[in-house]
Amino acid sequence: MATVHETLQDLRSEYVGESTDNLDHIHGLIRQLEGSPDLTSLEQLHRRFLGLAGSGYTYGFPLVSTLGRKGERLCAPSLQQGQVLSPGRLVACRAVLDELRAEFDRLLAAYTAGPWARRVPSRPQTWPVTLAS
């Protein structure tokens, strides 16, 4: 049975591996807010950043939490006032996203090539089948 630390490393690899989808979603929300802003997209963007703020350091990645918090704080005031993001804040959100991508790229490289690379399950054993003639 894997130790707690081994399990934690596996969870970290999984977390890092899932980051691309999450960041793509954030990218889509920012594009939506740049094109035709709506409060639902802003709410989702705020929740995504808040999610990263809460999960990053929990998984051992403090910069992810810092950047998630930065994004969350860019969105929160507008959300509380029921207003869409200003162009300046949208630019700042995009900059946060770029920093998140850079950090996750670095983590992905470390977790796929480094000593903590996720253990790949071996292919299931299949038994040779002898067909009766």
Partner: protein, 122 residues
């Protein structure tokens, strides 16, 4: 001790599962939404609930209210688990009367101890 974690983020449910089951030797149930969490709480009667605050659909405070209004779940201690960091927001959550408020990010190796301590203090 049986704990129900209600959180829409699968990565948080996974690490809470590991933190409480592997480190804290607790039985852990999971629900991805407030609605699913209420149903699981009614069916499984956990000893405590860890409840995320910001969830799509039924959020944490609404889920707490629904749990409190149901005689079958009203007495289950609920601990908010939130990524909110503003003090006034945390105070607002405390005013809702949960057993406690724990914040994200958290140390997965220490979470079980914090949950036990929070339940003792409540």
């Amino acid at each position: 001790m049986k704990i129900l974690i209600i959180d829409d983020e699968s990565n948080i449910r996974r690490i809470v599962q590991m933190a409480l089951a592997r480190v804290g030797a607790m039985e852990v149930l999971e629900a991805p939404s407030g609605t699913d969490g209420i149903r699981t709480a009614r069916e499984a009667h956990p000893d405590a609930i860890l409840l995320d605050v910001m969830m799509p659909g039924l959020d944490g405070p609404s889920t707490l209210a629904a749990l409190r209004s149901d005689p079958g779940t009203a007495a289950i201690p609920v601990i908010f688990l939130t990524a909110k960091a503003v003090l006034s927001e945390l105070e607002q959550l405390r005013d809702l009367g949960p057993a406690g408020v724990l914040t994200k990010p958290f140390d997965p190796l220490a979470l079980a101890g914090h949950v036990r301590a929070t339940l003792r203090e409540s």
